[in-house]
């Protein structure tokens, strides 16, 4: 789920990115090809019907399975429903309108989940983008076999979160690979014990657990920012580096003064995308632990359905909260991209 949405947004940013860098060229090309109709297109009713016919299937599926559920999510969030029969409105059933919202609002696990979202989002975003940048930098020097590494590093992105979670559970488990490795290496063991490690250490337990889960996400997903950043680096005009080298700037200075400023927009865009989509994480967390202290908002929403006989309304209320935060993040993304474009336009 995550990976395809990520690609979706990248597509958008990639476009914006390209348009900014090669402004006039692209715009002219679009103007030439966007409205090819002209003399050959017959106006009128028949043309309108054709357009409608082309749009109808997509609009129908999205209307029924995406837009209608949004509205229904609001009505269900103020209802009592057990997953069968007809949902009953709370006020008609001896309750008050926002009882579901009140219940989840007063539930400490909601706030634990949101806090965990924050930890997961921060760590995994900084980790994937930071590591992605370093990896892209390493491949950018066109090291021998870079095409192979680019492909190999991207491979885990295509794995199912479930598989990754089950594999890493075997690593983090109290008698898992990590604990066994530490116990097997004497100097590592004494070093770890200095940090508070004990035999059969519980890695997947709050507060450390969330960071451990974020590490899994970094392990799986760094290949994605690497790919995007690498293609942005390839767009930097070589003359810039040439000029810097003539001025006597070393490799590290060139990275700091040319590479980073040149791809700043891409870095910000990819970081925002990671924020938006790590907010939605579910599979990884749910499949690796069912500890209430280590859930995120999506898995909290899923697990809260089992709170009592008719708890689907609670889950819908969490869904509404999730929709709101998701839209806020997306609007923030659009806002930042627009601001950047405006800055470019005035520059």
């Amino acid at each position: 789920m995550t990976s395809f949405c990520q690609a979706a947004i990248t597509r958008g940013t990639g476009q914006a990115h390209e348009r900014r860098f090669h402004g006039n060229e692209i715009v002219n090309q679009e103007r030439k090809t966007m409205f090819p109709g002209g003399v050959f297109q017959r106006p009128g009713l028949k043309r309108g019907l054709t357009i409608l016919l082309f749009l109808a299937p997509a609009l129908a599926v999205m209307g029924v399975f995406l837009v209608y559920p949004i509205f229904d999510c609001f009505t269900l969030s103020i209802s009592r429903w057990g997953g069968y029969g007809v949902p009953r409105r709370l006020w008609a059933d001896g309750g008050r309108w926002f009882d579901n919202f009140r219940a989840v609002w007063n539930d400490p696990y909601l706030w634990t989940a949101l806090k965990n979202n924050l930890i997961f989002t921060t760590v995994s975003t900084v980790g994937t983008v930071g590591l992605g940048f370093v990896l892209a930098l390493a491949l950018e020097s066109r090291i021998r076999g870079w095409k192979f590494f680019r492909l190999a590093w991207y491979l885990p992105v295509t794995f199912a979160f479930v598989v990754v979670a089950m594999l890493w559970w075997r690593i983090y488990d109290t008698s898992g690979l990590l604990n066994k490795t530490i116990a097997a290496v004497p100097w590592l063991e004494s070093f770890a014990e200095g940090l508070g490690w004990r035999a059969h250490f519980h890695w997947l337990r709050a507060p450390l657990g969330m960071y451990c889960i974020a590490v899994v996400a970094i392990w799986q997903y760094s290949g994605f920012p690497m790919m995007v950043i690498l293609s942005a680096m390839d767009d930097i005009p070589p003359e810039l580096y040439e000029a810097a080298r003539i001025d006597g700037a070393g490799a590290w200075k060139r990275v700091w003064h040319i590479t980073i400023p040149s791809i700043k927009e891409t870095l910000i865009a990819i970081a925002l995308i990671q924020v938006i989509f790590s907010f939605r994480v579910f599979d990884l967390v749910y499949a690796i632990t069912n500890d209430w202290d280590l859930q995120v908002i999506a898995s909290y929403m899923y697990m809260v359905q089992n709170r009592g006989e008719e708890a689907y309304g609670l889950s819908a209320a969490v869904g509404v909260i999730m929709l709101a935060v998701g839209f806020a993040l997306a609007l923030g993304y659009v806002f930042v991209v627009r601001a950047q474009q405006r800055k470019e336009a005035f520059a």
């Binding site: 789920m1 990976s3 395809f4 949405c5 690609a7 597509r11 090809t33 966007m34 090819p36 054709t50 082309f54 749009l55 997509a58 599926v61 999205m62 029924v64 399975f65 995406l66 559920p69 949004i70 229904d72 949902p87 370093v134 990896l135 930098l137 390493a138 090291i143 590494f149 190999a152 590093w153 491979l155 992105v157 295509t158 199912a160 979160f161 089950m166 066994k180 490795t181 097997a184 392990w219 790919m227 390839d234 767009d235 580096y241 070393g250 490799a251 590290w252 579910f282 749910y286 499949a287 999506a298 929403m301 899923y302 309304g313 889950s315 869904g319 999730m322 998701g326 997306a330 609007l331």
Partner: protein, 293 residues
Amino acid sequence: MSGGSVMNKAARGAGLRSARLAAALAVITWTSVLFYPLVFMLSGSLKSGPELTSRPWGLPRGIVLQNYAEGFLTPGLDTNMARLMLNSAIVTAGTVVLVGLFSAMAAYALARYEWTLRSFMLSCFALAVAIPGQALIVPLYRLILNLGLKDSYWALILPYTAASLPFSVVMLRAYFVGFPRELEEAARIDGCGEFGMFFRIFLPLSRGGLAVICTVAAIGAWNELMLAMTFITDPARRTLSAALVQYSGNSQTSPNEPVLFAILCMATAPIVLLFVFFQRHVLKGATVGGVKG
């Protein structure tokens, strides 16, 4: 992309030795960190239970293919791996076909015709990309129940399609916009109608773009967990991801680790094969903004 790399190479062929060394070091380190867990998984699937407990690190001493045979029958799930993969494949294929066809049609209307609400409609599609689909699980569940779709493949195919469409439409539209107008004019002069134009000219020519969105939709549909666990409870129709979570829940109480590793390897193998087969398109999907023709 390749043009840029050649120039970069020329510009920095004489790059500092220390920088090259650091790059090589980073590449080696990350490749080992990334692949060690996978080696652990693969070698674990070939070990015997006691060996995996006592020596989890290295390669297996004797290969135990029995794990795969046992894992194939997915103990405790009333089904087998082939069935689970078939279920996932049906759901994935259905999603891919619908997403490909519907998004291509919508993108065509948005790219090749000029009409009043066109830009508004385009903004709607772009905005819909921001909807976190899983937040809608409760209303979707009610909808699936009311439509009588529970435990059918459609219960997953239709929501997955709806969730993939916004992004696919936005992306394919950008693809269509780039087609030269001469192509369309030539086809019209040859007497091509509106639908002939779409099916005979645009669909065949947009294979690259279609491959990207279909791969991306396929990865999403193959992996999805939350809806798959909720909308399908019939063991014979469960998808692979949902069954794996159930299996892992069972096996954490009575674990047979090597068998579980074998199951994980079997679940990953088709994806790896597809990835290697379609690598060009997947990579393109990830970096499409940076690729210039």
